[in-house]
Symmetry: C2
Subunit: 220 residues, 2 copies
DNA sequence: TGCTAATGACTGACTAATCAGTCAGTGAGG
DNA sequence: CCTCACTGACTGATTAGTCAGTCATTAGCA
């Protein structure tokens, strides 16, 4: 998803010459989607202005309509596009059935910590959380492509647990419990970070302690 | 996406005549705040129409401006008003220091299950989560009046734990972990409930199992 | 008690501003 | 010199906020 393309200076064309009228195919679309994520993240769907998306992407407003029929479609395509690359990773984590279950859970949490927090995916999740209820198609897509697969992965891992290292039975029934602190981290960072910064690594470590050891001893 | 249906007035006019022009003091304000919660919940702040708030409250739009100077103030007052009654409850739960810590945690979770899920408070939390980042004053209010107090309450409870029934040390560092599944429940119910209904009671029970027993036995 | 004047809570049509979406025009590439 | 990706001024719809007017209620008076 990331490319070597330099950051677009938002409004003005670069000094010394006009921007080329026709660029590499896909470059424009990518710039628009990137700008859209920023603007929608900052203001929410309803308050986001397509003029802003356009100027941030370095194109005119009309250009947006060459790529997307309307605001809503742009919004949904943008969010589905960012999700796609994560799906492969998720599948890989789920199917590594030689790894001990506790380690697989740990890997899942580590993946989140490095590949979600502080990346565009964090913004995406925040948008799903805040706008999902008003975009049933989008919510359905995320439920089916991300959530359901993530939950299934955890269930698969839990089903392999037979040394009683953690409460696999409870986790099998509610794999959501693995993800709850991750969701909380994202929400916290979007809402309360400025009042009380949250150390996500440490929170996830504490989550692992509770999850994998129950009580008493710690095992780093 | 948006329905064009007019909002139905929540306040039925008295049988046989027009609504009285002057009502009991506070009644109008209360009706407006109630209507505002519904409309803002349904559409989000930016997309909510004050005409809808007015018609649901059974008043004219101009009347809103007799009580609140603008849309934003109405929004913030409304959310702060709903929070207030919960604060006393929270304080009570924190200070019941004769109750065993594990039971106090259980009481906190039970309180949430009965007094938040399915009540206006659930909508309020959902609005804080989705709009909080754009309303720093509101986020600050919630952080100071609700979040910080809730976390402090859990820390107080955890500090009294000395029988090692649960990982009080981890919870003391991150009391957020107690609340994470509750946040997840609210988000889930707002976003994915229609695709996969979530049994909040059972989820909280599983959370308690993991939290209080670690692994192994269950305690229904 | 019966009448009138004063009050101010309430109304809703209106204004001004915003913004999604359009389309005739432009100019670089072939 | 033709094509078409791109432009940006424009239009129509929407809606926050206003304010001159309305009328139920109450105070004052006989």
């Amino acid at each position: 998803m990331e490319s070597k393309l330099p950051e677009k200076p938002a409004t003005a064309p670069p000094a010394g010459g006009k921007a080329p009228r026709r660029r590499a195919p896909g470059e424009r679309q990518e710039a628009i989607l990137k700008a859209a994520l920023d603007v929608f993240s900052e203001h929410g769907f309803a308050a986001a202005r397509l003029d802003d998306v356009a100027s941030r992407a370095g194109v005119a407003k009309g250009t947006l309509y060459l790529y997307f029929p309307d605001k809503e479609t742009l919004f949904e395509h943008m969010l589905q596009g960012v999700a796609a690359p994560a799906l492969a990773q998720l599948a890989r984590l789920a199917s590594a059935d030689t790894v001990p279950p506790a380690a697989a859970i740990a890997a899942l949490l580590a993946f989140f910590e490095t590949e979600v927090i502080g990346t565009p995916r964090e913004k995406v999740i925040r948008l799903i959380v805040s706008e999902g209820a008003r975009f049933p198609r989008l919510a359905k897509f995320y439920y089916e492509e991300v959530i359901a697969k993530g939950l299934a992965a955890v269930r698969t891992i839990a089903a392999r647990e037979n040394h009683n290292n953690f409460n696999a039975e409870a986790i099998s029934r509610f794999p959501q419990l693995i993800f709850a602190p991750l969701l909380l981290s994202i929400v916290w960072r979007g809402t309360f970070q400025q009042f009380e910064p949250l150390d996500v690594s440490a929170l996830i470590a504490a989550h692992k302690e509770i999850l994998l050891h129950g009580h008493g001893e710690r095992n780093p």
